[in-house]
């Protein structure tokens, strides 16, 4: 099982490198087919997602907008392998994500997906560098110190490695959570209102960071946001209402 997974990564990596070398940068990394998700049963049933289909290209920066309760977060969680769809399929690099068993899914999440939440979700008893290196430690691998240093520099939290999350400001905590998401250089970055409770200056900083890593590592970035200024910086905007895609526009 473990071999199977590492094979995926190897093959993917080689595939991506080959394609990049050939100049075929435009490739589908994510494909969503007829995705539906319902919560509850009978009269209390809520359709959070209703037959959603779309594809995302590698390296694309996608913003998802829509009113509260429209199904944005549900969609993001399903893309990230956190929540299972009621029906429909998610393909990542051509592999059916939900055909894997739970353990495989957990490893998929850890290696292929970086998740960033509005409320950081850092582990309070771990210090900054431990929080950032958590995905590597969970894999039982050795921490690449150079990578950690690089991240700390990019995130501008150098010198705070030994601080605990509650000793940091909101913006710094969010930077740490981005570091954690970036540690494994995932192919897909998912951010659920990453700037929801930050001031405008910090918000822009965080978005710049995400955009930079999107460009630098040719990562695919999907952001849920209520901030039109952030949404307008994306390559493409998808609007969701009542669990359906109402608009899908390429901005640039």
């Amino acid at each position: 099982m473990k071999r199977y997974n590492s094979n995926i990564t190897k093959i993917n990596l080689r595939g991506i490198l080959l394609k990049q070398a050939r100049g075929e940068l435009k490739m589908e990394i994510l494909k969503v087919e007829n995705l539906s998700k319902t919560y509850g049963k009978g009269d209390n049933q809520v359709k959070a997602l209703d037959n959603v289909s779309f594809t995302v290209q590698k390296g694309e920066f996608l913003a998802i907008i829509g009113p509260s309760g429209s199904g944005k977060s549900t969609l993001l969680h399903i893309l990230g392998g956190v929540d299972k769809p009621t029906s429909g399929k998610v393909f990542m690099d051509g592999k059916d994500v939900y055909a894997q068993n739970d353990t495989q899914l957990a490893i998929f999440r850890r290696r292929e997906v970086g998740l960033i939440y509005q409320f950081y979700n850092l582990i309070p008893v771990l210090n900054v560098s431990e929080n950032i290196t958590l995905p590597v430690l969970m894999d039982g691998r050795k921490v690449n110190q150079e990578r950690l240093e690089e991240l700390l520099n990019i995130l501008q939290i150098k010198g705070r490695e030994k601080h605990l999350p509650n000793q940091l400001s909101g913006g710094q905590q969010q930077r740490v959570s981005i570091g954690r998401a970036l540690m494994n250089s995932p192919a897909l970055m998912l951010a659920d209102e990453p700037t929801g409770n930050l001031d405008s200056k910090n918000s822009q900083d965080i978005v710049e960071l995400l955009k930079n890593s999107n460009k630098m590592y040719n990562q695919t970035l999907i952001i849920i946001t209520h901030d039109e200024n952030i949404a307008l910086q994306a390559d493409r905007i998808i609007a969701i209402e009542d669990g359906r895609i109402t608009r899908d526009e390429v901005v640039r």
Partner: protein, 339 residues
């Protein structure tokens, strides 16, 4: 002592005391049948229990009577509430509920009072606005009624009369439109509105007065910029804003209209090079009947207010700011969905 007397006046207390006495006597009787000492013990216990219970009741009743005293105070216009008793228990909950209710009632009363004042002010405002041109119309009519009047003079007076009448007409039409909005009886079309056409339509009404003031109207709008909304009503809103800009721009000035569209909203920007908006007016400019520092005496304070109502109804926003150098800048956005 008074409290004590009041306490014993409660009918349920009378019943309970009677019951206690009955129980004490029964206990004494049964006890005496066993032994004298037992009788004394039973009576003592009965008396102790009765006293403890009566004491507890007494304090509860005292709290109730305090509460009723406070409510009485509030009823008679005392507006200081004693919110100090944050204790557990049914009584404390009752007390806090009563205070909450009192505050709510007071708030409602003050809102009603404010509404009434607003209504009175509005009526006074409207009456005043109609009265002023009516007085002029009266005077002009009396001039016109004079028998020996030259043709030239008549022409002049008639044109003045027409101007006054059109002003009153505009005033009343706008007020009627606003009241329609208030009553929520306006139906909006959901059609694709071409902003280029919209601006052309809206600028017709100000074309002549702008020409008279030697002002320039510049529209830099890309083809194909649209939004979903109601053409006629949006035209009304834009026309009102343009009218405002025109009135606050000196002769020889200019009004520039820009429009663009992105994935989230369609934006119309209207910029004039007039004297701008006073800082203290900026946050009130869209309020009904609000007249700014340097508004003309023709101004009523309903044009911009109506414009805002129309735009808000179409999932849009309007804001105003002062341009960096001169003039005001109105930014109107029609959103394509909820962000």
């Amino acid at each position: 002592m008074g409290d004590c007397m009041k306490f014993f006046r409660n009918p349920e207390m009378k019943k309970i005391i009677f019951l206690y006495i009955l129980i004490t006597f029964t206990a004494f009787g049964i006890g005496f049948w066993i032994d004298l000492r037992c009788a004394i013990f039973a009576v003592t216990i009965s008396i102790i229990f009765s006293t403890v219970h009566l004491m507890a009741d007494f304090f509860r009743y005292k709290k109730l009577s305090d509460l009723s005293y406070q409510i009485n105070e509030i009823l008679h216009g005392q507006d200081k509430y004693d919110l100090s008793s944050y204790a557990e228990g049914e009584l404390a909950i009752l007390q806090s509920q009563i205070f909450k209710m009192t505050i709510q009632l007071r708030q409602q009363a003050s809102i009603l009072k404010k509404d009434k004042g607003y209504l009175t002010d509005s009526i006074a405002d409207i009456s005043h606005q109609i009265k002023t041109p009516l007085t002029s119309i009266n005077i002009i009519a009396s001039f016109l009624a004079e028998p020996d009047i030259t043709g030239e003079r008549r022409m002049q007076l008639t044109s003045e009369l027409m101007r006054m009448l059109s002003h009153v007409d505009w005033l009343i039409t706008t007020l009627l439109k606003m009241s329609k909005f208030d009553a929520d009886t306006v139906k909006f079309q959901n059609e694709v509105v071409n902003i280029d056409e919209l601006i052309k339509e809206a600028s017709i009404s100000i074309a002549i007065p702008m020409d008279l003031r030697d002002q320039k109207f510049i529209a830099k709008i890309q083809q194909g910029v649209t939004f979903i909304g109601d053409f006629a009503w949006s035209g009304e809103a834009i026309a009102n804003i343009l009218k405002n800009c025109m009135e606050h721009t000196p002769s020889g000035g200019q009004i520039v209209v820009l429009a663009e569209e992105n994935a989230i909203y369609s934006e119309i920007v209207i910029i004039d090079n007039g004297n701008g908006i006073a800082k203290e007016d900026l946050s009130h400019i869209f309020e009904r009947f609000y007249k700014g520092e340097n508004s003309s005496n023709q101004s009523v304070g309903i044009g911009l207010s109506l414009a805002k109502m129309i735009i808000t109804r179409q999932n849009g926003t309007i804001k105003v700011e002062n341009n960096q150098t001169v003039g005001a800048k109105f930014i109107i956005r029609f959103y394509k969905g909820i962000v």
